[in-house]
Symmetry: C2
Subunit: 318 residues, 2 copies
């Protein structure tokens, strides 16, 4: 049995409060909680591989505002976020379960929400296995995703000497959110990365087949999430700022702090074929740093000179 | 692949609206929804049996009011409700995933909620595999449960000639809720059935081993849920009112309409050993009716005379 990311990311409570509540839950659960600390739970192996399970909620005014997204995007995004946790584990989806709490003010748009959820499932070549519908005072969509992994990708397996890679181009989601919070219209390419994140399922399977060591999906920001990998693996990770693939219109410093990216960061003892990757998936794979045995968990370097990392991504909340 | 109870019960939207929204979701999902219609999804067989998956939300002011339950009971009940769907499928739990949306007004009691969830897991001899924590305006707890069933118990497999049985004594939960809605204090035995329902996991495995035909857990009321079985199995089910095991202080007519019982109703071509059942589990097993080939889906008989069934259980909402 491996473990699940119980209350460690996707948890937009106010800082301090968040960690306090997480700590309280974990301290109470004790031995009832079965192995904690990755993007999803790894269950006993079946004939096909390990069963992988994860759950993720998307709540109005916490993860998004109604005037920022269409109802279709709200449904799509909720499902994509959970499917991205399967990708982070190198799992092929079996299906998703959707629990929707819907207030009367959203009833008119329920079909669009349903369409968005189904589109996210289809885009990851998977199905909706079941769900639950309830009324409530605010819209929240909880998607649980099940998958199977021949070789689950963990956070705790980065090794001294590994190279660090990231998929895609970072910075779109947080730039879109900042722009929206300022009351302005975000650039289309930034908004698209926020409204329609793409779980890197196929990409993760390719990476798993090539024997990558550790893997995480970027929800708290590259720096913060690689910090989780470094802590779980008890290694030091250094990132070269000048190598960061930032989306057009975003600085590399903003890109390393951007959350809700749902891109993958991996470590690998072998060099990966970035050219084959982009040809196959139409998505870039960029080498951005190295893993070493140092005690410093996460170092950000600008042309070799160590700089202070930007503060971790603060999930939008109200 | 079997199917999941997508949006068919545990769905306390206003009548009319509920079915309308359910219909809209299902019509939009089309082939993306993989086999709908039971208490949980039945997935492809592994070495141990079929994988079973279900999800269920518990929302403040929809499923309970804060002054009705302790925080511990709120957590316990949310997990028990989802585990009961595994029981209805004859599945042994593998574990649960918990997504908790928690408003600041509940933060002080988060440990008690966590305790309640863990107690429900322990009571069903299972573990918490992972979860997600988010802030929000109202408390909602979505528990997804995974299990494995050597022989999944479906709703669609009742046969002409089967006997109908029910576990436990019915009527406690709805009587407790009515009393609470009237501003009075419910009897301890009624309140206990509402606040601490017991998923009949071990009992369901015993029933599955004895080859029962169809099985459902009672969430919408015995009459309504056996109506689901009759419809799914295309049979007629008759219930003898005078046989109904009602909890002390509740009429048999109220007992057949009481929802959120989480007792099991099963059909079986063979007579079941009720004496062994009560000795083994400390819970009664009562023969209450018969399955026939008629076109009338559900008939309620009072000493052989057909009577009008009471209206279906209306889930509490605000």
């Amino acid at each position: 049995m491996g473990g699940a990311e119980v209350f460690s990311s996707h948890t937009p409570l106010r800082e301090g409060v968040e960690f306090d509540v997480v700590r309280r839950f974990l301290s109470r659960w004790g031995r009832s909680a079965s192995g904690i600390g990755d993007d999803a739970a790894v269950l006993d192996a079946t004939g096909e591989g390990n069963l992988i399970a994860t759950t993720d909620s998307s709540v109005e005014n916490v993860h998004f505002r109604r005037d920022w997204l269409t109802a279709h995007e709200v449904g799509y995004r909720a499902a994509a976020s959970s499917l991205s946790d399967l990708a982070a584990m190198g799992a092929s989806p079996i299906g998703i379960l959707c629990a929707v709490v819907i207030p009367s003010s959203w009833l008119e748009e329920s079909e669009l929400i349903a369409d968005g959820i189904a589109d996210a499932a289809r885009a990851s070549s998977t199905v909706i296995l079941g769900g639950d519908l309830s009324s409530g005072g605010e819209l929240s969509i909880t998607v649980s995703a099940l998958g199977v992994a021949r070789r689950p990708l963990l956070r705790s397996t980065a090794k001294h000497g590994d190279f660090v890679y990231v998929t895609g181009r970072l910075g779109g989601p947080s730039t879109a959110i900042s722009t929206l919070l300022d009351g302005n219209v975000p650039a289309a390419n930034h908004r698209d990365r926020f409204a329609r994140p793409i779980p890197r399922i196929k990409e993760a399977l390719w990476l798993a087949e090539r024997g990558v060591a550790a893997c995480i999906d970027i929800s708290d920001g590259l720096i913060a999430d690689l910090g989780h990998v470094a802590a779980a693996s008890d290694v030091s990770i250094s990132i070269d700022l000048e190598r960061i693939p930032a989306i057009e219109g975003v600085s590399q410093l903003d890109a390393v702090a951007s959350g809700e990216e749902y891109e993958l960061a991996v470590t690998s003892s072998e060099e990966l074929d970035a050219k084959e990757f982009v040809t196959r998936f139409g998505v870039e794979l960029t080498r951005i740093g190295n893993v070493s045995a140092g005690t410093e968990k996460l170092m950000l370097l600008d042309h070799g000179v160590r700089i202070e990392p930007p503060p971790g991504y603060l999930h939008f909340s109200k």
